[in-house]
């Protein structure tokens, strides 16, 4: 068999030409296109990744902001609640104070009224007792109650204890005028004067005075110090009992 070298070499050259042409027209172009596409995809993926990261960061920021806002909101609510509670307490305290004040005022008013009532009552009772005593004394002993009171008072002055006398004397030293106040016109003035001068000295200055500050009685005033006999002392006792009774039944 004869070898056709021309064909062999021609085929080798043909293949080399084909190799060159295909490399130029096919492989280089396709491979570079594929590579570029790959790069583009990689870039896009990278972009997407960075965008995602950015978005995640943003999300975190927003979540943080949200939680901060939430916290602020809670704080504000808490503060508001505390303030409201405080305000409520203040208002309640205020109201309580006002109520206390009112009740205090009310109580004092009641007390005042009570006192007023007792004063009036005492006066009324006193004068009733006085009138009754006057009538009883007149009917039974044919004696004037006024002279009976004067006698009683003279008796009281005569029987003054030493300490009482000293006290009156002490007060007299400051001003020598002794005031005798009666609720009626004094008939036995000279008897009383005699007794007083006998007790406190002959130079004693005496003033006489008729008053209706108290009921049925006679009073000795030595510069503020008092010695008194009055129907009211009895009514006082009566009233105390009455008061006790009321308080018990309240």
């Amino acid at each position: 068999m004869q070898i056709d070298w021309i064909t062999l070499v021609a085929q080798i050259i043909n293949f080399l030409i084909l190799l060159f042409l295909l490399k130029h027209f096919l492989f280089d172009k396709i491979v570079s296109a594929m590579r570029k596409r790959q790069e583009r995809i990689d870039n896009k993926l990278q972009d997407a990744e960075s965008t995602r990261e950015e978005a995640e960061q943003k999300l975190q920021e927003y979540q943080q902001m949200k939680s901060e806002l939430e916290k602020q909101k809670n704080d504000m609510l808490k503060n508001a609640e505390q303030e409201a509670n405080k305000r409520k307490e203040d208002l309640l305290d205020d109201a309580r104070n006002k109520i206390d004040q009112l009740s205090e005022k009310w109580k004092s008013e009641i007390e005042k009224e009570k006192e007023e009532f007792f004063k009036t009552f005492r006066h009324k009772v006193g004068s009733e007792i006085y009138q009754t005593s006057k009538t009883v004394l007149k009917d039974l002993a044919d004696k004037k109650i006024e002279s009976a009171i004067t006698d009683k008072f003279i008796d009281k002055i005569n029987n003054l204890s030493d300490s009482e006398r000293d006290k009156i004397q002490e007060h007299l030293n400051d001003s020598d005028a002794l005031l005798i106040r009666t609720t009626y016109e004094l008939e036995k003035r000279s008897d009383l004067e005699q007794v007083l001068k006998k007790q406190f000295g002959k130079d004693l200055q005496l003033d006489f005075n008729v008053t209706d500050d108290f009921i049925g009685g006679i009073e000795l005033v030595a510069n503020g110090y008092k010695v008194i006999w009055s129907i009211e002392e009895f009514t006082q006792h009566l009233l105390e009992k009455f008061n006790d009774y009321i308080e018990k039944n309240e």
Partner: protein, 228 residues
Amino acid sequence: MNISPDEIILFQIGSIAITANIFFTWMVMLFLVLVSALITRKISISSKISMWQNFLETLISYIQEQIRDITDQKSDPYLPFIGSLFIFVSVSNFLSFVPGYHPPTGSLYTTSALAICVFFAVPVYGIQKLGLSEYLRNYIKPSVIMLPFNIISEISRTLALSVRLFGNVMSGTMIIGILLSVAPFFLPAVMNILELLIGQIQAYIIAVLSTVYIASGTRSKKITQEES
């Protein structure tokens, strides 16, 4: 009956006779280059690509993958050579259904030319990759005694490569020729289909074997150790 495309002389240019082998080789080359140029003229790097570009990209990625699998190296330097070899043989065999066409791969000259190209490609790639001395040292491994055997194996595998491809393609043509005389109606058509399949398998085999030879030339012990 002519079974070798070298025996068919189509026309004469001066004193050189243009055989069917040469002519159809040119035709295949022209076809390949034209198709490639047409497809890659409007090449797109976006995600929207034409059907043909998609086809070529799939084909090339497949070849790249195969090269990577066999060589354990980057496919880029080997792609044009192996790719051209595969595409040329594949298309040459595929076009055999065209009436009047004689596959150039059915000629021992063509397959020998391809085998010679592989024969020279092995040292070219080897020296490019390893350097001359390291490449030549491969011939005396594991010892100097192996030198003649290494050289014989280098030559014999080139021979085997060319004869394998030639034999397979020529046998197909021959079988069809024989069957035509025995059972002229349907069997040759079936055999033709089988022939198309065998042609593609041969294209795959020659490409894979070339890759294996080139890979064995570009691998030294040092590199294998480094790679493993």
